[in-house]
Symmetry: C2
Subunit: 142 residues, 2 copies
């Protein structure tokens, strides 16, 4: 992949906001690594000021903005360790649009939904620590 | 709606399994009430023996069975209080298939995802106690 293509790749990163922020430090690392490979449309997910109340714009505006970004993206990378309605919704929406979807799951952190593990259209990458993330993410874009 | 139609209505009830079972007693009440109005395809969600490990069949079999039921259903009723990847996935899949989707949310139990609250294609019904559920569910089928 040459650098011009890399620069144009639009990455939709999906992760829990209102479902809980236990893994926020992983989200930050993932976004900083994904930025090597393309434009991360949802960079605000790493924002420390973003708590489980979410953002100060209307619900409909968030929905329209996020689904618009998702529709325009080239790939969806979803962190699925924290159970989240929004992330599950975004995965199925992306699948219905024929997007490539990669799910990142931190091992030994609970039981992942069969809607993810039993779904052959999704790629699931497991990791055990924040240090492993750069190499795992590199795999996606090789 | 006459009783013959009611008997044939196929209801897909979506609720958290591996996302957590904190609201299992609500799921049981909802399923018993939904059974008044049609055939609940996912009755096993109320099973006390079902913990957050899920069921003893393969992941792919669960995925194929559940999405098959969802595709064949007339209506999706989703309990969305417990954040759950599977429930979010099922809502978006149902939406992509043009299904009617009703989300039940227990008030004051956290912050519901904007993928639900900002989505005009979904109906959201809030409730505050298990006692309120029969009347709320009756509204859906009126």
């Amino acid at each position: 992949m040459d650098s011009a293509i890399k620069e144009k790749m639009k990455i939709y990163f999906a992760a829990s906001i209102r479902g809980g922020r236990d893994y926020a430090r992983y989200y930050k690392k993932i976004i900083s690594q994904l930025s090597i490979y393309g434009k991360v449309l949802t960079e605000h997910i790493a924002d420390d000021k973003l708590d489980d109340h979410g953002e100060d714009i209307s619900e409909t505006d968030i929905f329209e903005r996020d689904t618009g970004w998702l529709k325009g993206s080239d790939i969806i990378v979803a962190e699925v360790t924290q159970p989240s309605l929004g992330v599950g919704y975004e995965i199925a929406l992306g699948e219905s649009l024929g997007k490539r979807i990669v799910c990142l799951f931190k091992q030994q952190s609970g039981n992942l939904s069969a809607m993810i593990t039993g779904n052959r259209k999704l790629e699931v990458l497991e990791y055990t620590s924040v240090e492993e993330l750069p190499a795992k993410l590199k795999q996606i874009f090789q």
